[in-house]
């Protein structure tokens, strides 16, 4: 304990000394923060020295080994670092799929050469990564992917396209699943490949959504040559790596829901009720529309019950229990709930809920319209609700195929 206190004191001191004043108190909103990469933009500009100083100590990736540029901290120390950052209201110096997805994957599955090449650049924020899994014809059946990797000497030649590659237009490298053996059974002919997006033949185009612009892109590969040594794990053995990475992704998603749960629903203030009071008025202290009021209460109850369930899972984990079946419902319930909630907000606003842009609509009204449309995708991306229910039925309830 004394050692941790010591570490905390030193950390605090170092942070105070090294954090530029301009970044103190910056909130990291979704999609915000510093994603690094060759085309990194630093907003405010003081984020740049902040990243450099933190990266120098390895504190962009606090628990990763020092030899690859990480901080080498224990979990307890990393937690202290996080607490001190929060205490001093300092933003994380770096975020992105390098730190959350491909980094952990390489540390586990990569060979020494791959770790030495890629991990330090991730820690220093020099390379921004994106993920190339989904394909136009694959969808929920991820393993049916068709992007071809034909062996030609020491290279694979890649042809095909990936969709839903978030921020591909801003990324430097992509980790992708490719079909290296078209004759094998579908899970057995896949290779997990690291591809430099500056390679000739890679092209990226943004995907517009029904809600407007999005970070999603389609990434096409036309005769792109990639060295065979860029395969992570065994050649044709990429499915194993992919599944593990999907595991990391699921943890991230669970974290997101956990975060939501920590934030909302606990207090007496009700965002929905306030919104409703704005649009529906009030009759004797109760909302003017008793039927919508009932629906608002229903939505709030479901949110609160969901948040309590997230808490229950966390409390059980803290108490040392194995993860219970309750965590299997997080993804499907949170996304369906968000769909209902965003739709309810539009219906509360009534005619004012129809704004797309411009005159006669407030910015937050337009934001809610877009939010409602965007939320339709929540139950599709990251595993459809149907897939989630299948998983619950099979793995949790033991129902037969």
């Amino acid at each position: 304990m004394a050692e941790l206190d010591e570490f905390r004191a030193q950390t605090r001191q170092w942070l105070k000394a090294n954090a530029p004043e301009a970044i103190t108190g910056l909130a990291l909103t979704e999609g915000g923060g510093n994603w690094g990469g060759r085309r990194a933009t630093f907003e405010p500009p003081e984020m740049k020295p902040w990243l450099e100083r933190m990266a120098e100590r390895g504190w962009t990736a606090p628990t990763w080994p020092r030899e690859y540029g990480g901080g080498g901290l224990s979990a307890a120390e990393a937690k202290v670092l996080q607490q001190e950052l929060a205490r001093l209201r300092l933003p994380l110096p770096l975020t992105g799929f390098g730190l959350t997805m491909i980094g952990p994957t390489l540390l586990h599955f990569g060979n020494e050469e791959q770790k030495r090449e890629h991990i330090p650049k991730i820690c220093r924020g020099e390379i921004r990564w994106c993920q190339g899994y989904s394909e136009p014809n694959a969808g929920s059946d991820l393993a049916s992917l068709q992007t071809r990797a034909d062996r030609d000497g020491d290279d694979f030649v890649i042809n095909g396209s990936k969709v839903w590659t978030s921020y591909a237009d801003l990324s430097d490298w992509i980790f992708a699943l490719v079909r290296s053996d078209p004759k094998a059974k579908k899970q057995e002919g896949i290779t997990f490949l690291l591809i430099d997006m500056d390679s000739p033949g890679v092209s990226v185009s943004p995907i517009g959504l029904i809600s407007g612009k999005s970070p999603f892109c389609e990434t096409r590969f036309d005769d792109v040559r990639v060295p065979v040594r860029n395969a992570v794990g065994a050649i044709h053995g990429g499915w194993t790596v992919a599944k593990a990475l999907l595991g990391f992704e699921r943890n991230m998603i669970a974290e997101v829901f956990g975060g939501q749960a920590r934030g909302g629903g606990q207090g007496r203030g009700s965002v929905l009720a306030e919104l409703a009071r704005e649009y529906l008025g009030d009759a004797g202290g109760a909302l003017g529309d008793p039927v919508l009021r009932d629906e608002i209460a229903r939505c709030e109850l479901d949110e609160r019950a969901f948040h309590l369930t997230v808490q229950r899972a966390r409390d059980a984990a803290k108490a040392g229990h194995q993860p219970g079946p309750e965590s299997s419902l997080f993804k499907v319930y949170a996304t369906e709930l968000n769909k209902r909630r965003t739709e309810l907000m539009v219906r509360i606003a009534g005619p004012h809920g129809l704004g797309w842009q411009g005159a006669g609509f407030a910015d937050d009204e337009i934001g809610r319209t877009r939010g409602w449309l965007r939320a339709r995708g929540n139950s599709i991306e990251g595993g459809t609700s149907e897939i989630q229910l299948n998983i619950i039925a099979k793995r949790v309830l033991g129902l037969p195929d």
């Binding site: 995907i207 407007g212 009534g350 809920g353 005159a359 339709r376 995708g377 599709i380 459809t384 149907e386």
Partner: protein
Amino acid sequence: MQLVLTEDQELLAKTAADFAAEHSPVSRVRALRDADDADGFSRKLWRQMAELGWVGIPFPEEFGGADMGLSGLSVVLEALGRTLAPEPFLSTVLLGGQALLLGGSEGQKSEWLPKLVEGERLLTLAYQERRSRYDLRCVATRAERDGSGWRLRGEKIQVLDGTCADGIVVVARTSGEERAADGITLFALRRDAPGLRLERQHRVDSRNTALVFLDGVAVGAEDVVGAEGRGGDLLERVVDRATVGICAEMLGSMSEAFERTLGYLKQREQFGVPIGSFQALKHRAAQQFIEIELCRSAVMAAARAVDDGVEDAARLVSLAKARCSDAAILVADESIQMHGGIGMTDEHEIGFYLKRARVAELTFGDAAYHRDRWARLGGY
């Protein structure tokens, strides 16, 4: 009341379906949207529709109409709803046109209706306000006495096809508080009336709607549509007719969205089989089929009830709108979900159906509003 199409209506339905397929694919809606077209629809196509006699369907022969009622118009609107055609039937034929037909003086009718039927004049009705939500009697726009006439002051929102209408029927209050049942009067205005200003609004379906600002617009007794101070009932009858129209359109749109989704379920393969073979999706598809069939019955009944002037016509209109609103959203949501990721892209057409479904749901009252009205008219 016979819930079956007559031979004339069958023929009309076929003509309209062929026309929509040939001249009005959904790609046209996209093009209008992407070009930020000032009208939001095609005047050329509108004139063609007028030549085909569709604009005149619910008007008497004396004005050049076909006198085929809402039952006739519904089959056209359903066909056009299938491809989301944005032409101004609701604004011109149903809101503005029916206001004049039901409440207008002989002079007003002969001035506007023949040209309207020919497709040469566009009309609309400005009734909705910032605070009115779905309550037709909530009118803050005031008509202040000024000599023998009035001055109109106020603001209307989301006036359908407002920026291209040649005439606007404006709902204003000649007496009473904002939510009083009495004291509502309708006035017919020309678009060039001094003090009238229009601003285009962009809703999620990208059709034409407008803010209407009334800054002391002068009107006289000859501009009153219907009886002074008793426009509330007229307004309700007019909006009921427009409601039947939007229900017919919704029926077409939801049928088309559903059929496209069915096609996708049969064609899209996952795990080596068409996704339409998964029982959970089958049952959900069957549920949607049922909802659409019930909507069809309700829309047919509402149109015929209004045409026949039966006692519970208003209840049947609310029945149709309540059910169409819920069904349209159900079908649109399920269509997106069943299309998966591709359905979320702007590139795919199915999203247009979702957007229009939401606008239609919240136009002329949502499902809860019409359930309330159903109950009220039923005496409970």
